[in-house]
Amino acid sequence: MTELLEREDLLAQLEAARVEGGRLLFVGGEAGVGKTSLVRAFTAAKPALHGSCENLATPTPFGPFLDVGVDIGGEPRQVAVALLRELERTPLLVLEDAHWADGATLDVLRVLGRRIDGTAALVLATYRDDEVDSEHPLRIVLGELASAAAVSRISVPRLSFDAVRKLAEPHGADGRAIHRLTCGNAFYVTEILAAAESSLPETVRDAVLARAKTLEPAARRLLDVVSVVPSRAELWLLEAVAGDLIERLGECLASGVLREEDDGIVFRHELARLAIESVVAPDRRRELHARILIALESGGDVARLAHHAEGAGDSAAVLRYAPEAARRAAAASAHLQAAAQYARALRHSSSLSSFERADLLAAHGRETSVTGNHDASIASRLEAIELYRQLEDPLREGDVWARLSLTYIAPGRNAEAERASTRSIELLEKFPPGRELANAYCTQAYMRMLSRDNAAGVEWGEKALTVAEALGDDDGVSQALNMIGTSHLMAGEIDRGIGYLLRSADLGRSLQDENRISSALGMLGSGLGEMYELELAEKFLHEHIAFSEERDFVTSYSQSWLAAVHVYRGRWDEGAALAKSLLADTAISRITALIALGRVRARRGDPGVAEVLDEALELAKPGGHLQRLGHVYAARAEAAWLTGDRERTVEEAHAGYPLAIEKRHLWFAGELAYWQWKASSLQEAPDWIAEPYRLQLEGRVREAADAWRARDCPYEAARALAESDDVELQLAALRELDLLGAGPAATALRRALQARGATVPRGPRPSTRANPGELTTRELDVLRLVAAGKRNADVAAELVLSPRTVDHHVSAILRKLQVRTRGEAAAAASELGLLLLQDR
């Protein structure tokens, strides 16, 4: 072991994090730079838990936590909870090589990142930052955890020239040349120094091989054996596989090439293992894999067995272990690994019957679809379909067509999705109605719902419902109710839609199926948002977010709709802040977040409108669905109008209008008609558009304003009043616009009033803002309850918020009121009269 140079600062940072506790620290750096050495030096004299991720295409789900001794039979959330309990006893965990982590392990890290705050534990996760590109699963986790206060990253730099010289000196080596060659990579430097060759090895690999050459031939052969075991090689395994060579182990350990870890043997560094493995002759490698396979077969881990089976070229063994490993990985939500295991099985499937092969392809299609690898999923499913067709098994063929149709939707291949769905129904309707048919109907209902073909959505949903009910398939019933309810909502049948969706959620509760409950709550929240039922939408969005956060489900889509609802209810600060916090996300939640942010900027007259709304349009286009396009074009038309560009207002509004009319979307048709009418390019709109817009187009601005106010849309209400002929009403509108900070609308109205000769008040000074503490409506809600002496948990229950959200609100309140305790907040609030203020 080399002396640890230039790491004092990093060690001090680690120590500070340990003392503080409740931290997850990602330790990044290139391979060989010295991450492990740093972490080892830090944990040397401390009790600590250790786990390592393996360099395997198909790592074992939860692999590193197996080392830690935590029960890994369960979902990631349960494993995380077990781990947190373990950390209460030993509050230090080192997780090595997180860039190789399986999906289940990454899920555990996600949960840890959010829950470690408040504990006494420190978790260190090392990773190769140069191998984690934007598509890498770990990068996605890092992105998600970027805003978590308990999570941070440090990076281990390369050694400086001075350090390399200091290391080289005792060997009499040329520090300058070594530094130039290695760029200060600590592992490379030590390998060169250990090899002690007269000419410097050109690569890390050469350095490792040169160093290995200094061993006796038998010891060198033992290295070959160890190199074929990617994870830690157990002693008993080496004894079984290496034969007499095992006697040379002492020599390998003494030279520092290998080291002992727990009950096994590992290379000093993964780079060294790879270098040695790369020069093992192919025949020898296959033979070693075969021997390891036999030795492990008495009860080894199936993922490991599958790896060595493939290395041994033993197809029968691959087919024995890989599908089983895939099923276990899928059960642990490690879908990438499950897909890789199925792919491995497929590589060795030439001996299988067409039927078995088709089943493997269908399973591979399912797992790749979950991980978002749509191309692979589509290819496998098409192949499975072709095999089932040849086998004349229309039931299975039809089932895969239905699943394939959903996979086509994500990349926007709508026409193919429609064809696949139609085909599945054709095939499955020839059989007595079964679960497959119920699912195929439901899939068709889902596509109609996405396209906002609401009547057809209800119709297909009813068909699915009939089949599922006859079968007693409660899960199918719950899904069908969800589809029917959502389509009713989108048709403006609000009460009926809510009724169906609540029944779907109730059924989910009785089935204890959290996905069904979550889906129904999410649909209620976002669907009611799209229908401008803002108060109800907000209630269900909070309910969905609280439900999902507790279970570590994704909340970003509901959060994005919550941001939009904040904006439409006049809470621009809150809406913009929430929208921005979501922009690390991809896909559909990003579109709605961008729209919310774009609306706020446009209404304030702030810069940066085009960049967000252009991106939203780009993201919405491939799907081609009204629910996104209608929303984006409405926001873009509004933004164009607020900059005074009539021509572009018409252009943007018209781009979304025909589709909104075709689908009879009350709100998108209403808003897009309104902007064209404002820009004087529309004579007539249908009479079914949403009421506030219809009233405005009819010139009944006072009633329109009342209708907007009833929906709690202060900006839209003021915008309607501004169109009045009555100076008093216009002045009232101006006060509201000033209060909101609606620069462009206020400026335009001021000009109009001045042109009429009215006396126009100046804009508001900061001191006349909404309330002295600048608290948001939601913060006022929380403050009222806090001032009444309620605990955060009670506040959360009463307002249907997650306790964590309440924590955030309380700290914001303390900050804004510039007080330190809840008691002081209550006192400050009553002094300022805040508790009497009602929601606007």
Binding site: D573, A576, A577, L597, R604, D606, P607, G608, R765
Partner: protein
């Protein structure tokens, strides 16, 4: 960080009021130093009071709004700066006295 011009027309009754605002602005700016940096300001003679044209660097328009709201400063308009052309150094600042 991008550069922005912020117009705060007729924001204050007096130079004294403006100085108090400047102190709040500095304090809040330090608290949000990752999102906002105050570069310089030009104080406007507005007849019945004073206003400012401020040059800031900020991570987003929302950061400027949040800073203004925290420091109790008015904002009339935020404009993003596309480029800077420096011809001469700024004139010597005069001390503002009420």
């Amino acid at each position: 960080m991008e550069t922005y011009v912020i117009l705060r027309r007729r924001g204050w009754q007096s130079g004294e009021e403006l100085q108090e605002a400047a102190a709040r602005s500095t304090a809040e700016g330090e608290r949000m130093s990752e999102d906002i940096r105050w570069i310089r300001s030009y104080v406007l003679e507005e007849g019945d009071g004073v206003g400012t044209v401020c040059i800031y660097q900020a991570s987003s328009p929302e950061a400027i709004r949040a800073h203004a709201s925290a420091a109790n400063l008015p904002v009339d308009e935020i404009v993003r700066v596309a480029d800077t052309v420096v011809v001469r150094a700024d004139p010597q600042p005069a001390t503002i006295e009420s």
